[in-house]
């Protein structure tokens, strides 16, 4: 609860700064503020509580994920400095929207009532619609915003319908009550329908096949920083929320539902990876890679009672790698009008450090050891095998192999090609974010218990 309030306060503060003409201070203050919020959030780790008639429930799950989101936001805000250099007059808006986005995200993992869930997801989505379309003179950005908006609202409609069904079945929006009532034998069919519809809506948000079509287009069209936000923060949020929804409402995940998850998970991995192979645009490639990672993360739903820790771990690993990768992309494509892979040619020679960071990030996503991505996959595999879904794991393994194909395409471009231009300037924040994100990734890769034990 405190987290939420603090974040909102920070957002408002941002807007105020603009009015007070403290534009220069916005980013530092925000970062410091967010660090404070992070501390505040972590302090609640051992104090699970629920606030305001169960509207907000703070537990370990919410604290952990909120902290992850805050960390990601810190990175994203830090990257904003460089990215919005030429948009100073809108800086406060951008930052404020990011912070509100964060509070939507926090609401989504700490809701105790479906109203909060719905509002949270809408705050998040609307912020993203805006961010996607924020490059108003660029048709691609417009298109991305429009596509995202149309499909997102469509999905919101589905989610709303689902919530309505749940309400029809239970007569309440309170998660705890729903959870309690779902134990009773006589349930109207509305409840499972509602759950399924909400799940489908969330599938859209995490971009799982066949609800993924928006992702590559939107990722490609949006400004790079927004893409970074979507592919790291938004995806992780949506996944965590889906997990929380299904686990908190004690939904009956029967055999059929598990089959659906299995199929969607495998389809997401496969389609995402295969489609990514032929992409020339890096953002688009990472969008498809995100689709496949969504498929991986969906595997956690198959062992929902025990997999919170592994989801957190996977999400952390994936998003940290994503942040590191995107900071390099931001740097490389700063003054380019596209994010084609050709921009990366020879980066290994012109800028070995960032090339190494990007390589590390991609290796992490591909699941190569010592990077966190490896452990994430390992834990996931072990949980899924334990749950008895060896088939999914085999599919996941085959997909990991395919994924190496396109991750290495980028690495090859960096090391195997001659550079076609030189870049000057060493934006400190980008370097800092890239390195810190990757170092964090490696650290949790070396000491996975740090994260895994949080939600064990």
């Amino acid at each position: 609860m405190n987290t939420l309030i603090a974040i909102i306060g920070l957002g408002v503060l941002c807007l105020l700064f603009e009015i007070l003409d403290f534009r220069k201070a916005i980013i530092p203050i925000t970062i410091i503020g967010l660090l404070g919020v992070l501390g505040l959030t972590i302090s609640e780790y051992n104090a699970p509580n629920s606030y305001y008639n169960n509207m907000i429930v703070v537990n370990k799950f919410s604290v952990c994920f909120s902290s992850l989101f805050i960390v990601l936001t810190i990175f994203l805000v830090a990257l904003s400095h460089n990215f919005y250099e030429n948009h100073q007059s809108k800086l406060s808006d951008f930052i404020a929207i990011k912070i509100f986005l964060l509070c939507g995200a926090v609401a989504m993992v700490s809701f105790g009532n479906l109203a909060m869930f719905f509002l949270g997801i809408e705050v998040l989505s609307i912020s993203l619609y805006i961010l996607a379309a924020s490059n108003r003179m660029n048709l691609k950005s417009n298109e991305a915003g429009m596509k995202y908006f149309l499909m997102g609202s469509f999905a919101s409609g589905i989610i709303l319908f689902g919530i309505c069904m749940i309400y029809g079945a239970m007569g309440t929006f309170d998660i705890a009550e729903i959870s309690e009532m779902s134990q009773s034998a006589e349930l109207p069919i509305w409840f499972p329908i509602g759950i399924v519809l909400v799940t489908i809506g969330m599938f859209f948000k995490v971009a799982a096949v066949p609800f993924h079509f928006w992702a590559p287009d939107v990722y490609e069209g949006s400004p790079a920083l927004t893409t970074a936000t979507m592919s790291t923060l938004a995806k992780v949020v949506a996944m965590a929320t889906l997990y929380k929804l299904l686990s908190a409402m004690n939904a009956d995940i029967n055999y059929g539902f598990q089959m659906v998850i299995v199929v969607i998970s495998i389809a997401s991995m496969t389609v995402g990876n295969i489609m990514a192979l032929k992409q020339a645009n890096v953002k688009r490639m990472l969008a498809f890679s995100g689709v496949s990672h969504a498929g991986f993360m969906l595997m956690t739903l198959l062992s929902i009672t025990t997999s919170a820790g592994s989801l957190l771990y996977y999400a952390t690993a994936y998003s940290l790698a994503g942040i590191a990768a995107f900071s390099v992309i931001l740097y490389v494509c700063k003054n380019q009008n596209n994010e084609d892979i050709t921009n990366f040619h020879g980066l290994g020679k012109t800028n070995p450090l960032l090339a190494a960071v990007l390589t590390g990030a991609l290796l992490s996503m591909a699941g190569i050891p010592i990077f966190a991505g490896f452990f994430a996959k390992l834990v996931l595999f072990s949980q899924t095998i334990q749950a008895g879904y060896l088939v999914v794991v085999i599919a996941a393994v085959i997909n990991s192999i395919i994924s190496v194909g396109y991750y290495f395409k980028l690495i090859l471009a960096m090391y195997g090609k001659e550079p076609n231009e030189t870049r000057t300037g060493k934006p400190f924040l980008i370097y800092a974010v890239a390195i810190v994100a990757l170092v964090l990734n490696v650290i949790i890769g070396l000491f996975p218990s740090v994260i895994l034990d949080l939600l064990a």
Binding site: G348, P369, S382, I385, V397, S400, V404, L412, Y415, L452
Partner: protein, 480 residues
């Protein structure tokens, strides 16, 4: 004093080398390579005195993973191979100029680190991590410092990486499965498992895929020749000298004890695959135009024989293959170095463009010939000891295996001598072939000396590896 010191040394070496800058990198790397060799020898001494040099500590609680390094004779023998070859390989590269050499030498040491780790790890996951880690440096070494057309090289290297990764991921699944059964990744705990024969079969297959690609056994070898050809010679040496042995070592350490029933059931098939590799590799090698490719196929033939020996599941087979692994490691490094020496002078690897070198440099010729002879397992070379033991073990299973596997001594002689004839003999080449430099000479002499010393007196190594092999064998034979 325990084996973790060795790993730390190599890792620190990699970092220091990178920091040392381009000029000093090679020397620093050599220093650390030698230091690790020294360290290995000291450790070996401690081990022989009966001290415990293993190292184990809890790493991750959930899943239950330990940072466990266990040094028994087998591991130490392989570590010795790694740490002995690393300085030799580094030293062999002194005649070449590499761009960004600090990264190059750091990667070599890092790879050495990862491979040493693979040989030492006694925790499944740790082992897997090292196993994968070893892949990354060689990928970059081959990609960045390789030779030939960049596109072709990329294709070959990526194929290699994806292919090997593909195999090892299935191994990971197998490990996860075993972990879920045993609740720990520690090899001791995994050994205790009682798996049904169908489980063993699947686990065996998963491991087999990983190892068959890494070793490589036919028909999983298609990456090999291309990568050997494209990689810089140092990379090729690392790959063929040590990395292949990772696969073979793993068969002995992990695959056979964990799934002995499957190995026993499919014993003829497995040996057959190995022997098919011998014959196939030898025959393909006959008509190779590229010297490095020829050596790659010869390597294919040799590892085929080694794996056949391993899958006999007899003490002789295991012992012979370990001996042969070490011997082959040295000889193949030497041969690739010879290819490099010629390349330095003639800028070619095509055999047809060589010839008539002997008249110009008798010393080099003699050393080359000795390596060729070691490669064809002439008695008194280390390779003979290994090959003889392996063939002997094959004959214990079935004489025909020995006969077919033994064709290596005919075909091997055929292609190696043919190669020797067309690279070295004949009318004096018009192009001048400068005599070997001191560095080159020392490297070759060292290798040859090792081969002949252990060829005459393999007892130290036999005594080193036999107890641990016996232990593994009891593990293999625990269920019948």
């Amino acid at each position: 004093m325990n084996v973790s010191l060795l790993l730390i040394l190599l890792l620190v070496g990699a970092i220091v080398t990178y920091l040392a800058g381009d000029k000093l990198a090679s020397k620093v790397a050599l220093f650390f390579g030698l230091a690790s060799l020294g360290c290995t020898i000291v450790l070996l001494n401690h081990y022989n005195l009966g001290e415990n040099i293993s190292f184990i500590t809890r790493w991750i609680t959930q899943p239950n993973v330990s940072f466990a390094l266990k040094a028994d004779g087998l591991s130490l023998a392989m570590v010795l191979l790694t740490t002995a070859l690393t300085p030799i390989i580094i030293f062999s590269s002194f005649g070449n100029e590499y761009k960004n050499s600090k990264a190059f030498y750091a990667l070599i040491l890092f790879m050495s680190f990862a491979m040493t780790g693979t040989f030492l790890a006694s925790d499944g996951l740790l082992y897997y991590i090292f196993w994968e880690l070893a892949l990354i440096p060689i990928y970059f070494i081959a990609l960045i410092w390789g030779n030939g057309d960049a596109e072709d090289r990329k294709k070959a290297v990526v194929k290699f990486f994806i292919y090997t990764l593909a195999g090892s991921l299935f191994m990971l699944v197998a490990f996860v499965y075993l972990y879920l059964k045993a609740g720990s990744f520690l090899i001791e705990d995994l050994y205790k498992l009682n798996l049904s024969s169908s489980e063993q079969l699947w686990i065996f297959l998963a491991f087999f895929l990983a190892y068959a690609i890494k070793i490589p056994l036919i028909p999983f070898h298609t990456w090999q020749a291309n990568v050997y050809q494209k990689a810089p010679t140092v990379g090729t040496m690392l790959l063929s000298g040590i990395m292949l042995k990772m696969g073979l070592y793993s068969v002995i350490r992990w695959q056979l004890p964990l799934a002995p029933l499957a190995a026993k059931e499919y014993l003829p098939v497995l040996i057959g695959i190995g022997i098919a590799g011998v014959i196939y590799g030898s025959i393909v090698a006959l008509r190779q135009k590229d010297l490095k490719k020829l050596l790659a196929y010869s390597s294919l033939a040799h590892v085929g024989l080694i794996s056949a020996g391993t899958y006999t599941l007899t003490l002789d087979g295991l012992r012979g293959s370990v001996l042969q692994m070490i011997a082959h490691g040295f000889v193949v490094v030497g041969l690739f170095f010879v290819a490099e020496i010629i390349f330095r002078r003639y800028e070619t690897r095509t055999i047809a463009e060589m010839g008539g070198i002997r008249a110009q440099t008798p010393k080099f010729t003699s050393l080359f010939l000795l390596l060729v002879l070691a490669s064809v397992a002439l008695p008194t070379t280390f390779n003979f000891v290994g090959e003889f033991t392996v063939l002997y073990s094959l004959s214990q299973i079935n004489v025909w295996f020995a006969v077919l596997g033994g064709t290596t001594i005919i075909l091997g002689a055929y292609y190696m001598l043919k190669m020797f004839q067309y690279t070295m003999l004949g009318e004096t080449n018009k192009r001048i072939f400068a005599d070997v430099t001191a560095n080159e000479g020392i490297t070759l002499v060292l290798i040859v000396a090792v081969l002949f010393f252990f060829g005459l007196y393999p007892k130290p190594i036999i005594d080193l590896i036999t107890p641990s092999l016996e232990e593994i064998l009891t593990q293999i034979n625990r269920i019948n």
